[in-house]
Symmetry: C2
Subunit: 350 residues, 2 copies
DNA sequence: CATGGTAAGGAAAAGCCTTTCCGTAGTCTG
DNA sequence: CAGACTACGGAAAGGCTTTTCCTTACCATG
């Protein structure tokens, strides 16, 4: 307190309004049976004094702090931006404040933060990550507060985890490319030890299969999540499988590399080849040539969903298991234009 | 509390250790005069019970919550990632927890969050933004807690603001390009109503002037912070001023567009032209062709610096004014290789 | 033996709020 | 007019710590 000025307490408000402390409390919180006139007098006094109730004292007596911990496993990643926005926004609307903790994938740090949050008596914790693969739960012993894992998955099935539906994302990409008339597909994606990579591929393949098409392994490239890998893979693809007319990329970074190589090799997108990315990351998708059609994981919605569930758990509802939140396709130019549909289904165009 | 389990209090620890509450408190906090044996007994009891002191109660009596509010003005932006990491990390090391509040450039939201933070009795507030231009202070009335503006600048000079030294960034870019032997410069950057844009240009020009070179306005392009603008500007530049051999870009996004056009027009980087970007944003710089040399604003350090200052202010030190934190050049390939220096100064190479 | 110093630890207040319980006054019912 | 409500508002407990001030007991000193 730089100016040594004490914050005004409810006692002062009560005195000024000429009522007891308890009456002031009731008036301010809309409880008890009070005359309207009394309430107004208290409110007036509070306003004049600029009264701000001390949340610390309130939490102490209510045994509810209206705070939650946001514990990000991996170091603050770009995925966490929309996710955290969704969480913070949803909680803030419910007057719940958020403690930010960056675990940096370090179990020791995570433990430290967990203790700190517990000590601050948070009402709940949301653990965020950047991978959908199962991770060890926050604690082996049952915690005194509910926990939800968002874009992160607890290995303990009795925990609640909320993940994007990567398989659905793969299906969306396939449906879009199919409806644009492409028929010979390739997939350039991230490392296969990511569950997300496998799920996206599975969804993509399943939808292709439904259309009687297949994606052989030789046209699936797996490598690091980098633009340069997109370029290398695309170059190899054009050499070995020039017949490919559509590429589904596991990330927008990869897609950018793919786009560059296609361009350099004289393959026009989307006239000759269709391309779909994943992540819908504005910086990469909006100004690429052509603008990149991409699967959006709705991370902000996902965060909001996780927050709502946590709130519900704090209310006492028990929740567990895995929730998969659907993806969405942001259509720009690179995937090609959907062919007009005949009355009988997907319009088959060569 | 899902299991209705009450947290263990210091009373239980004291009872178990066979001492009074105050003795337990002293033992746990390393205060007072206690026999070592007594201390150990208390610690043992605390461990066995899994005691976690209630930070709420502690804050109440100590009048210090060991929390600070992190109020981001603009919606969670990518710049905020390293900035927030720096802040959170520095504060966390000092056992201070961070409340995350996303103001979204909405004064009403900001007001709401400010009240919320004050009510929670934070010890201080750091306001983050994404522009260096002066903004109205958080509040017109003096606040009961210290505030520091990080990558954000209060219009009130009695506030403390911490900003990157954009002018220094411009100078770094110029020095690098000069030492690589380039002599005819252009600048493609963001909107001129950004103070950062003007500062970077000023620093760049000043260093050029020191070397007896100038950058005429006709070779300065100002436009939106977009890759597509980088492309458009580069195309125009090549048409009108083909003699230019070095381009300093106001952001990495712009630089990416510039690199693409140079490449397409057959100008090799860095053999024929040198390019330097700004922001050192990994996704864009590391995998571009060639990898992009870029000015790094040291945002993480900047955040840590702001946090340290805030901590100091919380300790009672008064601080105000503007701190400019230096930039740093991340040298990759695009700027060209510094020419070997002769004994007489910068080596002049065509 | 009176005095004083010191080490060890306890009692109680303070920090600020909510909530339960109770008293008072007024109104209604039979 | 007795008895039963209702509306209003106050007193006090409770939530968990820290900290200040005391009380003991012990030892040394003159």
């Amino acid at each position: 307190m730089p100016d040594g000025q004490r914050a005004v307490t409810i006692t002062e408000v009560a005195t000024r309004a000429g009522v007891s402390i308890s009456t002031a409390s009731k008036a301010l919180n809309g409880r008890g049976q009070l005359r309207d006139e009394t309430r107004e007098r208290v409110f007036a006094a509070a306003n004049e004094l600029g009264y701000q109730p001390n949340a610390l004292a309130r939490s102490l007596v209510q045994r509810r702090s209206f705070t939650v911990g946001l514990l990000s496993t991996e170091s603050a990643d770009r995925f966490n931006i929309p996710l955290h926005m969704g969480i913070e926004n949803e909680l803030g609307a419910g007057r719940v404040s958020v403690f930010l903790c960056d675990g940096r994938a370090d179990p020791l740090r995570e433990r430290f933060y967990l203790d700190s949050l517990l000590s601050r008596r948070v009402d709940g914790i949301v653990v965020t990550g950047v991978r959908t693969d199962a991770r060890p739960p926050l604690s082996n012993v049952p915690l005194p507060v509910p926990v939800v894992y968002a874009y992160s998955c607890s290995a303990d099935p009795s925990d609640l985890s909320v993940l994007p539906d990567d398989e659905h994302g793969g299906r969306l990409a396939a449906e879009h490319l199919l409806s644009a008339g492409w028929r010979t597909f390739a997939h350039i994606t991230g490392p296969m030890d990511f569950a997300a990579v496998r799920d996206r591929l599975a969804g993509f393949r399943a939808t292709l299969a439904d259309a009687g098409l297949e994606l052989p392994d030789r046209r699936v490239y797996s490598g690091p999540w980098r633009e340069s890998f997109g370029r290398d893979a695309a170059a190899d693809l054009l050499d070995r499988h020039p017949e490919v007319d559509a590429v589904f990329c596991g990330s927008d970074q990869v897609a950018r590399g793919v786009l560059d190589i296609l361009r350099e090799r004289g393959r026009r997108v989307p006239e000759d080849v269709g391309v779909v990315g994943f992540d819908n990351w504005g910086v990469l998708t909006e100004d690429s040539r052509p603008p990149l059609t991409s699967v959006d994981m709705n991370l902000q919605e996902l965060g909001a969903l996780a927050a709502r569930r946590l709130l519900s758990m704090i209310e006492g509802h028990r929740e567990s298991g895995l929730i998969r939140h659907p993806c969405r396709l942001e259509v720009r130019a690179s995937g090609g234009a959907p062919a007009p549909r005949g009355p009988g289904g997907i319009g088959p165009v060569g």
